[in-house]
Structures are given as C-alpha cells and as structure tokens.
C-alpha cells in the first residue's frame, strides 16, 4: 500500500482514545479516513490522500485535538 503523499491527519488525546468520538469521526468524514477501533480512533492510511479538507472532523471534536496537515505545503495545517 502506497504511503500518503499529500495529507496527514494527527489525532491527539483525549479525542484519540474516545470510542464515542471515534464513531462520530467515522460518520462525518466523507472519504472514510477514520475508523472506530477497540482502542479509539484509527486512521485509514490508504484513504488519507482522498481528504477534501472539509474540516468536518475538526469541528466534531474538542478544539485542537485533530490536525489535518498538508504535506505539500510545509507548515500549513487545518486545526480548530
């Protein structure tokens, strides 16, 4: 499986370990980048490059716990 080239998503505590938020993220992301796993949020790495920068994930969790990083533009990222 090829690595993501354009987008990375980082999920920090407390969001990453919260099963409720994991389910919510799985629902809101239009391109299936999040999966609700037994230990909380999992990132589906092969879908990362499909990210449409819609910020729905960012708005669904406590401020600052999700960052959507543009790998093609050093220093640019989306966060609450």
């Amino acid at each position: 499986m090829s690595e993501a080239l354009f987008i990375d998503v980082r999920v920090d505590e407390p969001t990453s370990g919260d099963p409720g938020l994991a389910a919510k993220l799985e629902e809101v992301c239009p391109v299936d980048i999040f999966r609700a796993g037994p230990e909380g949020v999992e990132i589906v790495r092969e879908n990362l490059d499909e990210c449409v920068l819609c910020e729905l994930c960012i708005n669904a969790v406590p401020a600052g716990t999700i960052r959507v990083i543009k790998l093609y533009a050093p220093g640019e990222e989306l966060r609450a």
Binding site: S2, L5, F6, V31, D49, E50, V52, L53, K70, Y72, A73
Partner: protein, 407 residues
C-alpha cells in the same frame, strides 16, 4: 446499441410482424439442418453488425441443403468490416412481388419520432429520399397519446398505395411504430418489406438500434435475446486499453475518469469533461500533436480514480508525456486531480515535473492545486492561458523532447 439481424427479426416477430421462415446457426451442421427443415431455396446471410454484407460476399443463395452447407462454410469464415460473423441466418427464399421500406427514427428538431415509408424498398432509403423524394412519405407521431392505426394508413396511402395491400401494410407500420417506443429504439427499420406472390406481406430484413441509456429498463427483452450486459456493441470492439479505462471508472461511483478511446500517438491525454475533451483533442491535433488517447474526467472523481486513469495513460506503450487539461472546473476540484496525476507518476517511479507536459485546470480549489503542482515542479497554467495555448505548449514540449532524443 445495435442488434444483429437475427435479433432484430426476433424483435419484429415478437411485435406481431410476419417474417419469413428462418433460423440462426453458428455451425455448418446447423445450417444443413435448417435448410432441410425449410425444404426449399434459402439465403445464407452473415451476421455482422457492420453494413456492406452483400458486397463482401456475406450473402449467398442456395437451392439445396448441400449447397447451403457449402456456402455457410465460406460465410462463417469471412471477415466483414473487421468483424468475424456471430453466425449466419438461414432464410427461406420468398417469391417477392414488390419491395417496400418501413422505418421509424427520432427527429431531434421536432423532438418526436417520425415514420418513414417508401414503395421503393430494398435500397438505401437516404438515396431514395434524395433522388426520388416523392417516393418517401413521412409523418411524426406523439409519444404521449397512444398510436392509432390511421396514422400509419395515412402515411402509406399518401404514396398512392391502395387496395388489399394497404390493409396489410398498415398494421405492420403500426406495430413498428409501437415497438419503437416500447423498446426504446433509436432506429427500427424493415428493409425490404416484401409483398409476396401470394399477397402476404413479410419482413425480409430488419435493422434495430436501441438506446444505450435504456438498457437497464429493457433488461427483459435483452435477456430474452441472450444479450449480456458486457456486450457493448460499439462501432468497433473496445481494446484492452479501453476496457482497462472502464475498470478505472468503475472502481467507485464518484465522478467520471474514463471513457477512454485508444489512438497511437505519443502524447497521453488526461482531459475533461465532455465539451472540454472534444475541444482539447482538436487543439492538440491542430498544433501537430499526436494524441495517444481520448478520455474524459468530470463530476469530481476521487484521487484514486484520477490516479488510476493517469497511470493507465502513462503506462501505455509509446506515451512520452501526459497533458492534464480541462476547461474551467466548478464541480471537479483542481487539487484532487493534481494529487491524482502526481501520485500516478510517483507510483510508477517517474518524475511528475518531467512526465506532465502541462497541467491546465483552472477553477474550484485552484489555489490549493497550484501549491501541490509547484511543490513537485510541474508546469501549470490558470484560466489566462487558453485551452488551445495549453495544448500548444504540451505539443511543443513533447516534440522538443523528441528532437533532443534524436541528437
């Protein structure tokens, strides 16, 4: 979607239009058997989708089953217009007194179906219409109100046809008009429609085209005829490259990245959408370029799909560079397509800056897209560069590259 003659005859017969006694055969043995059953003179007709069967020797007459078998052996092996026959039609040879033409097509200007009828059947109707227009009668009919027999009668009678034969022709044209609408045809034609020595009227040949868009709702008829979903019935069979394009497009339901047609040039095209693709293909040729393919991207496809299409085009033997060009996009996103084509290059171990001759897609999310292209050193253009200018730059790059290689 075009039907073979044996299928068209089945459709006509299903609609209650009399046909001559006939059968479809794929082997010489089957032909002999059918000829025995018919027990009289027969015609062996090659079953291909292209025209010009007669000229190519795909239609042969036989008086005995043995003769029929001999002809069938030849016809079954005969390629016509680049196509091997699906089989042959074994038709009883009728004693024909007169040949008529009956057809129904769409009139895109009046936006109604139109019946055509002629008392000069057996030859090309367009020729008759041009040279002897007084022998072709036509009438439009409603798609909302039920078709009534008098409409057919009036068309036929307008040619001066009267007597018993008018009464026999009328229900045939009526049924043809009704089946045209019921089965979503774009062309339904009986030519010739024969009046036999005994006064009966039968379809001696039939030609049907069904609208592709209607295939889902005509499944029942298609199943009855044994036409599978995989049969495209295009003017020519799709190449493996084109089939691979369909696969790319089918991998998810987001947008379109496909409709690929193969050509033999060195400049791969990743272009869109409908009108933009047509314009760009012309533009590349106008500047002396040799396109390797036609294709269409539109409707906001996924990165995966854009990547798949670009990979397919990049991987085509003889392709040196690709040009990624579209008319201004509003639904499709510039950044998503940029990601897709760059990813395709990298996954094939190629340098996007070198392989992408030009990227000209202005519109939705262009700022983000241009950032990506800049990062990978790909030459890009915004809306101030016209489609033709973008095509010219792509052609210049690839031809410059060739010269450099020759040195």
């Amino acid at each position: 979607m075009r039907f073979f003659e044996y299928e068209s005859r089945a459709i006509v017969a299903k609609a209650g239009i009399p046909v001559t006694r006939h059968g479809f055969a794929t082997t010489v043995a089957e032909v002999s058997e059918l000829a025995e059953q018919i027990a009289g003179p027969v015609v062996i007709k090659s079953q291909v989708l292209s025209g010009g069967r007669m000229k190519a020797g795909g239609v042969q007459f036989a008086d005995t089953p043995a003769e029929a078998a001999g002809h069938a052996e030849q016809v079954l092996k005969l390629e016509i217009g680049g196509q091997m026959p699906r089989g042959v039609l074994v038709d009883s040879r009728a004693a024909v007194r007169h040949e008529y033409y009956a057809g129904v097509v769409w009139d895109g200007i009046r936006k109604l179906p139109v019946m055509l009828f002629s008392d000069m059947g057996g030859i090309d109707i367009e020729e008759v219409a041009e040279q002897q227009p007084e022998h072709v009668a036509r009438a439009h009919f409603s798609t909302l109100r039920p078709f009534s027999e008098w409409q057919a009668k009036q068309v036929i009678a307008s040619l001066g046809i009267s007597g018993t034969v008018l009464g026999r022709l009328t229900p045939i044209l009526t049924r043809l008009a009704r089946l045209f609408l019921a089965y979503d045809m774009t062309l339904a034609e009986i030519n010739p429609l024969g009046e036999l020595e005994d006064g009966s009227v039968v379809a001696l040949d039939a030609h049907m085209d069904m609208e592709n868009e209607a295939r889902p709702r005509q499944r029942e008829l298609l199943q009855e005829l044994g036409v599978g979903d995989e049969e495209t019935r295009q003017a020519r069979e799709p190449t493996p490259f084109e089939l691979a394009g369909e696969e790319v497009d089918a991998q998810d339901h987001r947008g379109v990245a496909g409709n690929v047609t193969e050509f033999d040039g060195n400049l791969g095209l990743v272009i869109g959408a409908g009108g933009g693709s047509l314009t760009l293909f012309d533009a590349v040729r106008a500047h002396g370029g040799n396109p390797a393919n036609y294709c269409e991207i539109g409707g906001n496809p996924s990165v995966r799909k854009a990547c798949g299409l670009a990979k397919l085009v990049l991987g085509k033997p003889g392709v040196d560079k690709i040009a990624v060009m579209m008319s201004i996009v509003s639904n499709t996103r510039v950044d998503i397509v940029a990601r897709g084509v760059i990813k395709a290059c990298l996954e094939l171990g190629l340098d996007p800056a070198e392989k992408i001759a030009i990227f000209r897609i202005p519109g939705a999310w262009e700022e983000e897209g241009f950032k990506i292209l800049e990062r990978y050193g790909v030459e890009y253009a915004d809306r101030s560069v016209s489609l033709h200018e973008a095509a010219r730059r792509a052609v210049e790059k690839i031809q410059g590259g060739e010269l450099a290689g020759a040195r």
